[in-house]
Assembly symmetry: C3
């Protein structure tokens, strides 16, 4: 059961209702009228709770589980304990996501500007937006309707934030346009002066960075991640992109729609990721490259060349993953010799 200090649970729902919400099928013999009070992990769920099995690694936990009901793939149904009601679907994690959203809908919040917030008189704050303590909004900035701006956030001059976007504590934004329904996490830094300078005989010459950061609708940007503004072109984060914590995006980078960038990965300046590209944790991509649609970069890989659409690369320098693991097995043989 989620800690009531932090989460409010909706429900209860009948299993039949949940099957509908999750797009899953009630298994033969399962009780559509069973009342479910909450979701819970397979290891801790009790008789009034619903769990899910997504990763076969947790099949032994399923067998030992006391959960009243479970969402799982039909082929895993035989492993469920007797008496456990089942919701069947080929995409159990997806069904769980929707059902958990029903139990834990986004919390409603009261609009209003906290008395300690400093909002420039030329800024526009949309209807229903909530600005918490010590928020700062600069001249000519626009905060969309129903935005939730947490404590200590700084929104710089001219910044535009679309409706229903949420920004967590301590983030700061400048030189950027943010879409609707985005979620920017605590400590995010958007619109920083990119790392642009030119070497000269007497040190470095700053190159003015006169582009922006454009963040598409529904994008998520993780805690303490940094996104530099463009040098002239813009830096662009595509709609629906999911960027994790401590990720670095250099100036002029283009991140396509629905890309996933896992924690501590980084993309150097002027590189383009087409739609649906995935960078695993701690991966890095050099500057001025193109990664094709749906290409994937393994954890810790270092990409030094363009990657064709659909290809998965691994290693430093990164090569196609099959070649990489062939190399690893060559090394293993050499170690045995």
């Amino acid at each position: 059961m989620a800690d009531r200090r932090f989460f409010r649970v909706a429900g209860p729902f009948t299993l039949g209702q949940l099957a509908q919400i999750g797009g899953a099928e009630l298994a033969f013999g399962s009780d559509a009228e069973r009342l479910v009070e909450d979701v819970a992990p397979i290891t801790t769920a009790g008789p009034s709770e619903l769990s899910f099995l997504n990763n076969p690694r947790y099949l032994p936990a399923l067998e030992a589980s006391r959960a009243g009901a479970c969402i799982l793939d039909p082929r895993h149904a035989p492993r469920a304990p007797k008496g456990m009601d089942l919701l069947l679907t080929s995409v159990p994690y997806n069904a769980y996501a929707r059902i958990a959203q029903a139990f834990y809908p986004a919390r409603e919040f009261e609009g209003g500007i906290h008395e300690t917030a400093v909002v420039d008189s030329s800024a526009i704050v949309g209807k229903g937006a909530r600005l918490e303590a010590h928020v700062v909004v600069g001249p000519n900035a626009q905060v969309g309707a129903r935005c939730h701006i947490a404590a200590q956030v700084v929104i710089g001059e001219g910044v535009v934030i679309g409706d229903d976007t949420r920004i967590e504590s301590g983030a700061s934004l400048s030189h950027c346009l943010i879409g609707e329904r985005c979620h920017l996490h605590a400590g995010v830094r958007i619109g920083n002066r990119g790392f642009g300078f030119s070497l000269s005989s007497d040190g470095y010459e700053d190159v003015p960075q006169i582009g922006r950061v454009i963040v598409g609708d529904d994008a998520e940007i993780g805690a303490n991640s940094t996104i530099d503004r463009g040098s002239g072109p813009d830096t662009v984060i595509g709609a629906g992109a999911k960027i994790d914590n401590l990720v670095q995006i250099g100036h002029n980078v283009q991140i396509g729609r629905g890309c996933i960038l896992v924690a501590q990965s980084g993309v150097a300046g002027s590189t383009t990721l087409a739609d649906q590209v995935m960078l695993a944790a701690q991966a890095g991509v050099a500057g001025h490259l193109t990664l094709g649609r749906s290409s994937r970069v393994a954890a810790k890989a270092g990409v030094m060349r363009d990657v064709p659409p659909g290809q998965t690369v691994c290693g430093i320098p990164a090569i196609p993953i099959k070649r990489f693991f062939r190399l690893v097995s060559i090394w293993q043989r050499q170690l045995k010799a």
Copy 2:
């Protein structure tokens, strides 16, 4: 001598007193009544100061040192200049730690809530706690006795912080329970929504993250590090764990007691580190793994499998360190051929 703008020195102490504080033995012929005014690095210490030698790499610096006294291992005593008084111990760094603590005890601070702090009326702030400028404390949060909460810290709704914990500027906490005597550094982000979503035909479905972060007593978390809350289970940081700067901890991760995670390392979701595990700088561990008690991961290594207790691994993918260095010497031979 430490800069008096930042540090206040206690003392002086006699060498005899310091021997006792540090658990070290006064060398034969050293003067127990010698007055020591401060500690200082071996290269800059003068006649009224005490230094230490921990790393043999600095033996030449010892020989050239003007320090009045030095803590060192007895086997290095012959290398000390004549006239330098010596404190002997097999653990010189430890003795130095205790002696330096005597010279630089934790500074006392005055309790009280700064007039610009925003503390919800339902929050509880313990006796003697200090809340500096612009601190925000949400509804139903609890701040323990004698906590020192620096400027601009945000403590979210329901968060509980144990006694004597210190939080540096600009950190933000939500959905978490923090132990006693912890030290959270500037810009730390705890309790962020984990990177949890499920792919569906029309983009990504957010999976509600309904767990917490539990941080044990005496834990230290470095500047700008990020710790996501659990997805259902909790994310747990064990008592006495030492986490450095810019470290990423994914949802549901369990970090054991006394673990050490050096800067820029990361642990992916649902992985467990048993007690006393050490990750060196920039190391990464994939999700859903177990690292056994006292296992160690070398700098920059990428761990893709479970690691048995006590084992040290290195490389990408990580293998036992002896094998890794055997592989390196195979490469060296191939380069010579």
Copy 3:
């Protein structure tokens, strides 16, 4: 054209004026009286705008460009479209930097301390300095003349900041002395307690960290980067050093003048980088090492030994780059076999 919500353009300038500003030569047949209204990227510049070509990768874009004028190397001049006026120089990026600075000079700002800033009565704030909303300045701190301190910055007790330094939102500084004309980006954390502790039988003993951070003039430190204070010696960042985002600098590290540390790189405690050293992105350097003058570390490399002056190293563990790429070609041959 740069977005007028964020940038104010100066000018127009004649091409002749710009040639002089940029130290470039007007090509034969180009019109010195041509009026240039702005700078713009080669792909989007129009007839009233000036662009530049630095990277031959963009020669096709030059050929297709509608820019009125372009800065480039004389050997690329033949590739320019007819009618495009040209500024010739062997260092086009440098010339562009100076010309762009003319179009986009550092914005003037009004001095003054925002009414929500909390400045200790013993602190000194220089003439013309600007302290924005919610800035906190501790006891005995000094902020130089004409400093621009953005919203939510925390300047700790005793900290000294030189004239004309700029600090972006949400940064926090303690135990440090900062030079003149520095630029510290959003979320920077300077002066944190270094990762110093000693193992003992009953856990860890904190080693008091009684050094400072000294940052030289004209240094730049990127968003969310962390620099720990010294343990006894100081941590030093040389004049003119350029540190990118999410970089970690451990205690006692010495960074030489003009060093470049690209994003997500890290330097462990007590290591020295001589002048002009470059670390590429995600590189790491172990503790207690010395990297010689003008040495370079490739992206993602892991340095475990001293590096001689001028040498470039690559790989984990890092070796001279030529050897590394010889090793890569050995691997390629093995994969083919």
